[in-house]
């Protein structure tokens, strides 16, 4: 394909799209509140997501306190317990992880990393955040309505989620569904922006195969979200109609408290299909941005180009495609045709191939590298370990015959917290430590950061590793209290108490992070434009923090990929993406 007669280092072609006219905010309100600048929107998104994330953390303490000391804390009754389980799950998966990766990091990093001035539709982007905020407020508002929030479990399976006896069946479930519908509308507005910006608004020289893997991960996740959220949207609309108008989409003929309900002929399994058609891609909507970010963190802090860049990109795409056809593995215990079980098991296990490829490439990037054990690097390494751990238990659970006995136990809780709880959260921390200097112009405290890392990482293992053991013992998940059971030994209770105490400690230890976050805003060491000596484009902005429009007068021109580290013969140990090629250099 390559023509030897064409010089490799020709300048990129001229601009195809004229530079955009920027919207200039004139008042404080339009600059910091109703702001159309993606960077401000990103911080609003991340701030809101972290705030509800703290609520979810507190709810997880409620769950753990009940499991370790059943009945000891007076206000935790069965209703509060189930509401906490539900809200913890839904907030963490949708309102925290999805929002912070796509709305937070997506908004901040995509325009900077592809060399754009802003997202392509800044006004729509702003609306996206405000709709997300309203969705969050509607969700939290369910605490102040009669009956409180729904306690149906985060999967909201009907018929149980809309019948009396489930906490929050009065208002909680209605507000939950309304909030999800709003979230999806808001997300669609943002998601269109992320996808179109990556596809159509790259700067000169920025080919798709020169984009940092962070952008690839967020891009693939945004595409998947645009295709998967419709499933949840439709499920929410139909469940809302079942609950409010008494339609029978999901509810069959049913007797409740001795009373024969009006419902007739609905299909509860249909809801599960729609929900998991969203729910499984959702795992990768969270994981793919984390994969991308971790690739960049490892490459920068190991001073080495990412191993197998092209394969990394294709693995992201393969994982994205495969993850759209594996949703049935969440429904093995719902009962299905054995051939479907076979199909979903095969596709599920096939995802391990591109995922393992990525893990090997991360490890091979570290091989013989100049590893700097900075805080972001520690978090990236922590991610590798927890992710491999959670991925391996995923191989267990992908098999029908192994899943069926383990499905309702703490083993599943341990699995998904390792793979899509702890692992992405470690990446979020690492990413904040990494990009904080660009966002604020100041470094975060490394010593506090390392203390934060070790407590979080070791603590997370102490919490979730024993849960595997409890799960294999048969300790069920979601149960309010165990009572007297022959198969759970007394030692399990001791283990539960240990897990709870660790969870409380690790949760409180996060205040170290927040202290560091706010203290460094004022007292952090000035960072300069590129403290990590990173090659990708966001570190080459003329100002730090980047100004409105990101790039000053002239858009950058890209000549190479974002992984130019330890390049032989280069003046420094890295070559920025916008460094013009030297004579005779082959353009990478």
């Amino acid at each position: 394909m390559t023509d030897a007669s064409v010089p490799q280092n020709v300048a990129p072609p001229p601009a195809e799209v004229e530079d955009v006219e920027l919207y200039h905010a004139h008042s404080w309100i339009t600059k910091y509140v109703f702001c159309q600048d993606a960077k401000v929107i990103a911080i609003q998104y991340a701030g809101t997501a972290i705030t509800v994330g703290i609520l979810a953390l507190v709810l997880s303490w409620v769950i753990r306190l009940q499991l370790a000391f059943p009945g000891a804390i007076p206000f935790i009754d069965a209703q509060v317990y189930y509401q906490s389980v539900t809200m913890h799950g839904m907030i963490m998966v949708v309102y925290m992880l999805t929002a912070i990766f796509l709305g937070g990091f997506g908004n901040y990093l995509i325009p900077l990393m592809v060399g754009a001035r802003d997202m392509v539709f800044p006004y729509v982007n702003m609306l996206s955040y405000w709709v997300y905020l309203i969705a969050t407020l509607v969700l939290v508002a369910s605490y102040f309505f009669p009956g409180g929030p729904t306690g149906a479990g985060w999967t909201l399976y009907p018929p149980q989620s809309i019948l009396t006896g489930t906490p929050g069946h009065e208002w909680g479930i209605i507000l939950m569904l309304a909030s999800l519908i709003l979230f999806i509308i808001g997300f669609t507005m943002g998601g269109l922006n992320y996808v179109v910006t990556v596809l159509q608004a790259r700067t000169r020289g920025m080919t798709l195969m020169r984009m940092p893997l962070t952008v690839w991960g967020i891009f693939a996740a945004a595409v998947m979200a645009l295709l998967a959220f419709p499933g949840l949207f439709v499920a929410c609309v139909m469940l809302l109609l079942d609950r409010t108008l008494g339609t029978s989409f999901f509810v069959p003929s049913i007797v409740e408290l001795g009373e024969h309900k009006e419902y007739v002929g609905g299909s509860p399994i249909l809801f599960q299909h729609l929900f998991w058609f969203f729910g499984h891609p959702e795992v990768y909507i969270v994981a793919l941005p984390a994969f991308g970010i971790v690739s960049d963190l490892i490459s920068v802090h190991a001073r080495k180009n990412i191993f197998g860049y092209r394969m990394m990109v294709w693995a992201i795409i393969a994982i994205g495609v495969l993850s759209m056809v594996v949703w049935g593995h969440h429904m093995y215990v719902s009962g299905m045709d054995p051939w479907f079980g076979f199909f979903f098991a095969v596709t599920t296990l096939a995802i391990a191939v591109p995922t393992a490829l990525k893990v090997y490439n991360w490890v091979l990037t570290l091989w013989h590298a100049d590893i700097h054990f900075t805080t972001p690097m520690l978090f990236a390494l922590g991610f590798l370990v927890t992710f491999v751990n959670g991925g391996i238990t995923g191989l267990y659970l992908g098999n029908v015959i192994v899943d069926v006995p383990l499905s309702a136990t703490l083993f599943v809780v341990a699995h998904f917290h390792m793979v899509m709880g702890i692992a992405p959260v470690l990446v979020i921390f690492g990413a904040i430590y990494h990009w904080y200097p660009k966002i604020t112009g100041r470094m975060m405290d490394e010593r506090l950061g390392k203390i934060h890392f070790w407590i979080t990482f070791l603590g997370a293992y102490a919490i979730f590793f024993p849960m595997h053991y409890l799960g294999v013992l048969g300790m069920p998940r979601r149960f309010y209290e165990m009572g007297e059971t022959a198969f759970v030994p007394a030692s399990a209770t001791t283990l539960n108490i240990f897990i709870t105490i660790t969870a409380l400690a690790v949760g409180f230890a996060q205040s170290i992070f927040f202290y560091n976050l706010f203290k460094s805003l004022k007292y952090g060491a000035p960072a300069g434009g590129n403290p990590w000596r990173a090659a990708s484009l966001e570190w080459q902005t003329p100002e730090t923090p980047p100004g409105h429009g990101n790039w000053g007068k002239q858009l950058p021109v890209v000549y190479r990929w974002p992984y130019g580290y330890s390049v032989p013969g280069a003046p420094e140990d890295y070559l920025p993406q916008n460094a013009p090629p030297v004579r005779g250099e082959r353009s990478p």
């Binding site: 179109v196 159509q200 295709l227 007739v264 890209v558």
Partner: protein, 242 residues
């Protein structure tokens, strides 16, 4: 090759499948834009429509699933959607008119796009108003159909003709589609006004967005409108004909 063999005549070279495929690969591996002929707005609308296709697909598949899961017989659409005209029951006549109306509106929309690019503002605006009129007429006929069915006792939670899911699916799917048409009508009116006033020639800024618009918005609007039309064809086929 000698000079005599070189023809100066104009030769059209038909692109082969291979050269087309290579062209797509070249576009996607180039910088700046992956869709070389699409503006940001157009790309956004196409991608939105893909997402919306998934929404409508989920609705239609769910409708088919509940139609199978319900134990009660499904009402006959050709009998329920029939009108008494001159003492005779004509099946699906209103739906046929609605479908014809919506497809006609797609035609006027396409003409509006053409005139907008030709900068014939008045013609484009009038054609958009005609499109909006057809759209409004569609929603009006749908309202008539809804009120007729409600009058006959069809409710989202049950109906006298058979399976309760018939009414639920009907109101939900046609309602969601009618909502799309209504949103389209509102935007058609807004854009028609802007075209009529010449906003896109003088660079007048939008009230909310404070940005200048371009005539391309008419085509983007057209993409949405044709999509809503296409979705109706599927609803027509799966709900009314089946």
């Amino acid at each position: 090759m000698t000079a005599e063999h070189v023809s100066t005549e104009h030769v059209t070279i038909e692109p082969t499948l291979r050269s087309r495929a290579l062209g797509v690969v070249a576009d996607w591996s180039s910088d700046q834009r992956s869709f070389k002929s699409a503006s940001w707005g157009k790309a956004m609308m196409w991608i939105f429509l893909v997402s919306d296709t998934f929404v409508f697909s989920c609705f239609l598949i769910s409708y088919m699933t509940v139609r199978m899961s319900t134990t009660v017989e499904w009402p006959h659409p050709s009998e329920i959607f029939a009108l008494d005209i001159g003492g005779k029951k004509i099946p699906l006549i209103l739906i046929a008119i609605m479908t014809f109306d919506l497809i006609t509106s797609s035609g006027t929309m396409a003409m509006a796009v053409n005139f907008a690019y030709a900068r014939q503002r008045k013609k484009a605006a009038i054609l958009m108003l005609v499109t909006a009129f057809f759209g409004a007429a569609f929603v009006g006929m749908q309202a008539f159909e809804w009120s007729k069915l409600i009058h006959e006792g069809v409710r989202p939670w049950g109906n006298p003709f058979g399976a309760a899911q018939f009414g639920s699916s009907f109101f939900m799917i046609t309602g969601f589609h009618g909502f799309h048409v209504s949103v389209g009508v509102i935007f058609l009116l807004l854009i028609a006004r802007a075209v009529w006033r010449g906003d896109y020639d003088v660079g007048r800024r939008g009230f909310f967005t404070s940005r200048k618009g371009r005539y391309e918005i008419v085509e983007i609007m057209g993409l949405y409108w044709h999509f809503v039309d296409l979705v109706w064809v599927f609803i027509f086929a799966f709900f009314y004909l089946w």
